[in-house]
Every structure is written in C-alpha cells, then in structure tokens.
C-alpha cells in the first residue's frame, strides 16, 4: 500500500483498506511498482475520518456487478461508487468512461469518471446519507444565534431535515433542489458569513491546541533539565562529602549533618522555584473555578443533636496505645482506605458522652415492646 501511495501521490486523503492481512499480503508480494491505473487518479471522495484518512470498505465477497469479476479472479479488485450509488470495479470504469460521459450500465444515468468515490460503508444507503448530509450542512449552516427565537430555529431545523430526507430517499428531487436553490439565493451572505465563522473557530481551536502542546513540551524539557541538574548536584555533594571526610580532621558525623542541612536548604529553594512554574496552570484552574460559587455540601438535612458541645477533639492528639500502629505507619498502608485516626477518636469521644444524662426506665408502666406470643409460645413474628 505504501508503495502505491509513494508512486502516485495522487490521493487527496490517504486511503486505508479495511480487512487487513490478506490485502496487505497481496501487495507485499508484488514488490515491483504497479502500473498505475489512470482511473485511480481521480478518486478523492469518500468519507474522511478525523485524521484526514479515508477508510475504504473491503470484503472477500466483493464482486463487480457489471463484469461479474470477483476477488477470487482478481485479488486487486477495487470497487468504487458512482454518483447514483452503484458499484463498479476500476477496470469497468476505465472501459466505460474513459471516452467521456456515458450512461450507468445499471440505471442509465449519465456519469463521469470523476464522480466515482471509494466506498466507506458496507451499506450504500448510509454512504448516500452521509454524502447528502455533508452537502446540506455546507449550505444550511445557520446557527441558533441567527434566529430571533427558539421556535423559528426549530422550524428551520425541521425544514433542513425535510430536505435531507427528500434527497436521501429521492422524493420530489426536482422540487427539493429548487428549494435549496431558493434558500441559497436568499441567504447567500449569511451562508458565507457562517462559513467564515466556522473557519475562524476551527483555526482558533487549532492554534490553542498547538500552544498547549508547545507549552507542555517546554515544561517537560524544563523538568528534564531540572532533574539532570539535581542529579548532578547530588553527585557533587556525595563527592564533596567523601573529599571532606578524606581531607579534614573534624568528626565525620558533624560533617555529614552539615552537608545534609545544606542539601535540604537547596532542595527547598528548588521546590519554591518549581511552584512558581506550576502556578501558571493553577491560575488557569482557579480562573475556571471562580465562575461557580462553591456552596458547602451538606449531605444530610436532619435534626440530630450529635453532642458536639459536650466534647472537644484535642488537636494535639492523644496518648493512645490503640492507634499507635496507625499513627506510626509512615508508608500509610493502614490509612490506605481513608482511615483517619482523628475520626475514630471523634467517634469514641462522641460515644463517651452520648446519653450520659439519660435516666433509666423505672417500673412496669412504661410503654415497651412486649413480646407477642401466640398459643404455641412462639413469638408471632418469628415464623418457624
């Protein structure tokens, strides 16, 4: 496939054939440059995807409806679609249309060689619908802002949908075309304006993306540079320590402590400069956040009294042998699930003061859930 593209350079979009392995195998086998069929020079149509490529439909059961040759006879068979949505193989197209416009062998509509496009979808009605919609969208490009109210905008959309439907299903084609022409004549200026608008929008988007990309690259480069510097510095320190230990006669522990302190100072300075770089991104984020006022979330709207006035969690923590393991867990393995010892303390303290003043019930005449027994002595609710 690559060889073909190189030889020709004729496609507006790169064409990728669906159906993979077998197709590419046949191509790699013929390593000699292929004689280029003249017909292929014209096929720039088809449905492009986001990257500008056209994915072509391809199947092992392909058969040209005109000459009946199939993939078994001709592994390089390539079917193209006419403007009347009939399929034909390349050799048939060459044979029939090289000498100028000729009628379609299936429906007799006069066709030109230029009007054949590669097939993208298996179902040709889909192919047609996509083409029609694309064509309509080019002209019917009014936006919500071009209408005084929602009602008229919806009417417009309805009309567009009507026209599209008619074209797809070949209903009143002449009349519909007339409608389109009338619309075009009426709104020529607006259409042009909207096209420009869309182009400008697309351009903006692209520019923005590129700027972001540039910035990312810059930041990555800077990060790399910093890391490199840091590494070098560390190496240097190590070397210095060793040198000093070799040469000076001070106590080793003090020397190491001193150089450590130096290193800590330097690293904190680095961290400060790093935050300055990051603040740009943070600024953007805060600007986005400003628009939405942050209302504190209150999960429950209820009327509970949770003894908050009866106790106070000591912010300095407690001398607590229960939670010692959790608090000393430096890697945070035990806090993995979001466990916070403060919350456990809070719960215990709350439990300690809950209902402390509650008077116990006295006597028999307080309402209580008496067990109800049936004749067999079982609790009624406890069915056996």
């Amino acid at each position: 496939m690559a060889t073909r593209t190189k030889v020709g350079g004729w496609l507006q979009g790169k064409t990728v054939r669906k159906g993979g392995a077998l197709a590419s195998a046949t191509h790699t086998r013929s390593s000699t440059p292929q004689v280029q069929s003249t017909s292929t020079t014209v096929f720039g149509g088809g449905v492009k995807d986001a990257s500008g490529r056209t994915t072509e439909y391809f199947s092992m059961d392909d058969q040209c409806p005109v000459c009946k040759s199939d993939r078994y006879l001709n592994p390089k068979l390539r079917l193209l679609v006419s403007s009347c949505y009939h399929k034909m193989c390349e050799s048939c197209i060459d044979r029939l249309f090289t000498l100028g416009p000729a009628p379609c062998p299936i429906c007799n509509k006069v066709l030109r060689k230029l009007a054949f496009t590669p097939q993208t979808f298996e179902d040709l009605t889909v192919e047609k619908e996509v083409a029609v919609r694309r064509r309509i969208a080019k002209e019917f490009n009014k936006q919500r802002g071009d209408f005084p109210d929602l009602r008229s905008y919806n009417d417009y959309l309805e009309e567009v949908e009507d026209i599209t439907f008619n074209l797809i299903n070949d209903i009143d084609v002449a009349k519909t075309e007339a409608r389109i022409a009338a619309y075009r004549a009426e709104n020529a200026a607006l259409i042009e304006l909207n096209i420009q608008r869309e182009e400008a929008y697309a351009r903006d988007l692209k520019e923005q993306e590129e700027a972001e990309k540039r910035e990312r690259e810059q930041r990555a480069a800077q990060l790399r540079r910093e890391e490199e510097e840091e590494r070098e510095e560390r190496e240097k320190e190590k070397r210095e320590i060793i040198d000093k230990l070799e040469t000076s006669d001070k106590s080793a522990a003090r020397l190491i402590a001193k150089s450590r302190a130096n290193a800590a100072k330097r690293s904190s300075a680095r961290a400060a400069s790093a935050t300055a770089i990051q603040s740009n991104a943070k600024l953007l984020r805060t600007r986005a956040a400003v628009d939405v006022p942050d209302v504190p979330h209150i999960p429950l709207q209820d009327n509970w009294y949770s003894y908050d006035d009866k106790y106070q969690l000591n912010p300095r923590g407690y001398n607590d042998f229960f939670s010692e393991a959790v608090r000393k867990d430096r890697e945070g393995i035990m806090r993995g699930g979001g466990y916070m010892v403060e919350e456990a303390w809070d719960r215990a303290l709350r439990c300690a003061v809950a209902a402390l003043d509650l008077q116990p019930l006295v006597g028999l005449d307080v309402p209580a859930p008496w067990p109800q027994t049936d004749s067999s002595g079982d609790v009624i609710m406890a069915a056996v």
């Binding site: 504190p296 209150i298 429950l300 709207q301 209820d302 009327n303 509970w304 009294y305 949770s306 003894y307 908050d308 009866k310 106790y311 106070q312 969690l313 000591n314 407690y318 001398n319 607590d320 042998f321 229960f322 303390w345 809070d346 719960r347 215990a348 303290l349 709350r350 439990c351 300690a352 003061v353 809950a354 209902a355 402390l356 003043d357 509650l358 008077q359 116990p360 019930l361 006295v362 006597g363 028999l364 307080v366 209580a368 859930p369 008496w370 067990p371 027994t373 004749s375 067999s376 002595g377 079982d378 609790v379 609710m381 406890a382 069915a383 056996v384």
Partner: protein, 352 residues
C-alpha cells in the same frame, strides 16, 4: 469540635440526640422490672404451650416434667455468653464482634425462650451474624470447621429466625467504645495522662466485659456503663470527669453509676458450671417437642404447616384459574381490583 456545618432547621423543633434516634434506645431499652416481667410471662407462656403439646402427644406425660423457670433460663443464656467470649478469643475476632454477638443473644432471649431454641445453636448463629453486621466477615466453612460438632446448617438454619427476632435491628452502641472515649477525654485533665497505664485500661475494659454478663446494657446507656467501669478503676478521675460533663446532674449521674457498679460487681461473673449443668440436664427433658426433629409433635406440626400451605396454594390456583377464565390473566381492571384488595392474598408461598 471544629466547625461542622450544622443545619439549623426551625428552632421550634427540638433536636433529637443521636442515641435517642437509635433502635437501641427505641426498642431495646427496659426497666429492671420490665425485664423481669417479660421473662416471667415468656416463660409461663412457653411452659403452658409445651405442656399442652406433651399432653396431646401422650396424655399425662407432662406431670413429672420439671420445667425451667425464668431465672434458670437466664442462667443458661449467661453461660453461653461466656462461650461467645471463648469463641471470639479463639477466632481472634475484634471486641466489636464479641460485644455485638452477646447483645444479639440477650435480645433474642427477650423474644424467645430457651426451651424452644437451645442457646448453643443460637449462640453460634448470633456470633456468625455479628461478624457480618460488624463488617468482619468470615466464611461459613472456616467458621464451622473450627467449632467441633458443628455443620454449616446448624448456623444457617436459625439465621433468619435470629435476625427476625432482633427485628432486623443490627446496629448496637457499645460501652467499650465509650470507655475508649473517656480514656481519651480524661487526658485533657492536667496530670492525668501519666497515670493512665495500659494495664489499668485493661482493668477497666474487663469491667466492661463483666457488664456484658449482666442486664445493664438493656437498662442503661453505653456511656453510663463505660463510666462505671472507668470509675471502678479511677474513682477520683471519674467523678472529676462526671462533674465536667454534666454539671447540673452530678448527683443523679453518680447514683446511676453506683447502681451499675454494684450490678457489675455482684452479677458480673460467669455462672458456676455445676448449677448450669443441672439446668441443662433438665432442659433436655422439657424441650419443646415440636422443635425436636423427628418427634411426634414435630411431625404433627410439620404436617399442619404443610396442610395449610397446600390450602393456600390451592386457593391461589383457584383464583388464578378464575382470573384466566375472566379473560385477562393479569386480573381485571384496576378499579375492580381496588374493591377486592383486602380479599386477595398477595402473599407468596415462599415463606413456608
């Protein structure tokens, strides 16, 4: 507390404290007299019912049987509470599981009698249920293989019954947690932190554990029990803390604490095995025959249940048949149905 967003609803509505919103407060709080009364009436009703079953089985057979009284039932339950503690030590379950299981067992026998359901099985089920409700699950196989002479079915058969008797109210407020809270909070007093030694905490916790052998958790709130246990170890710090927490009602609170202390010290011991063995021997004779698999009364009851189930099924079949004949298998118009709503049996047969 750091400022927790409190939702100030209309001030006219008094706030309900969290403990008073719990099912423990609403449905499982009794007075001592009430407990006595419940146990007595339950025991009497059970004895009457079992005596009747004996008589229908074989007239005159109930005269020689010495049924258990309410105190003896309680003694047996108490013994199996100590068994829960042993099992929890064996499985290394956390304190929460043990305390919850014990609470379940006690609550179960406020709705049922020992003569119907032997506490040995109920205890196993209550403990297994507690592991699940406190989020310390263990597989059933693991559980039963570590307990001698126990099959998975012994645990599962009673599970629904136990859950139902508990009214599906599985959340329990425990005194041991309150004790921890007190232990933390008294550290705010100057000079106390140095006195708090781990061994003393264990001593206080042992008093809480002893309180589980008594009825205090059905009468008093967990914080009061914890305070009493703490007070048994640190009387002066406890009274200081009491004065701080409820300055207006120190006297009433200290009376409550003294009551609990006396209950814990007098009743908080495991029962002597000799006395329980005697009770258990008699229980074997006066067990409800309807609950003994294979006995005549059991079969009779089972047949009874099956008959009523079959009746119900037949009735339903007839109704369905009628509905089919009427034309619409899903019943008639809603308007007609509404008039009949009381008569139609929506119940499924699954519960049998």
């Amino acid at each position: 507390m750091p400022s927790v967003p409190t939702n100030d609803l209309p001030a006219s509505q008094p706030k309900i404290s969290l403990y008073e919103g719990s099912t423990q407060f609403k449905n499982w709080r009794y007075s001592a007299d009430q407990l006595k009364h419940i146990r007595r009436t339950l025991n009497e009703a059970a004895v009457a019912a079992i005596r009747k079953t004996f008589e229908t089985d074989e007239p005159g057979s109930s005269t020689g049987v010495a049924f258990l009284n309410a105190d003896e039932e309680l003694l047996l339950v108490k013994l199996y509470i100590t068994k829960i503690t042993q099992l929890c030590g064996h499985f290394r379950f956390p304190e929460e599981v043990e305390a919850t299981a014990i609470t379940y067992l006690k609550r179960f026998y406020l709705k049922n009698t020992v003569m119907d359901w032997h506490p040995k099985n109920v205890m196993l089920t209550a403990l297994f249920l507690a592991t699940k409700t406190t989020n310390n699950p263990i597989s059933l196989e693991m559980y039963t293989t570590h307990i001698p002479k126990t099959a998975p079915n012994d645990v599962l058969d009673l599970e629904f019954l136990v859950a139902q008797s508990l009214g599906f109210e599985f959340a329990v407020w425990h005194a041991y947690r309150a004790l921890w809270g007190i232990w933390l909070d008294v550290q705010n007093f100057p000079g106390v932190t140095e006195k708090l030694e781990t061994s003393l905490y264990d001593a206080a916790l042992n008093h809480v554990r002893a309180s589980r052998l008594t009825d205090v958790e059905l009468i008093y709130s967990p914080s009061q029990i914890a305070l009493s246990a703490f007070s048994l170890v640190f009387p002066d710090v406890a009274s200081q803390w009491m004065a701080l927490k409820s300055p207006h009602e120190v006297s009433t609170l200290s009376t409550i604490v003294d009551d609990i202390k006396s209950i814990i010290t007098t009743h908080g011991h495991p029962p002597s095995v000799e006395s329980v063995r005697e009770v258990d021997r008699r229980l074997r004779l006066c067990k409800n025959p309807e609950k003994v698999v294979g006995s005549k009364a059991y079969l009779a009851r089972k047949m009874d249940a099956e008959r009523s189930a079959a009746e119900k099924r037949n009735k339903k079949a007839v109704e369905v048949q009628k509905a089919m004949e009427d034309g619409d298998p899903f019943g008639n118009e809603l308007a007609e149905k509404r008039g009949l709503a009381g008569l139609v049996d929506y119940d499924d047969d699954d519960d049998d």
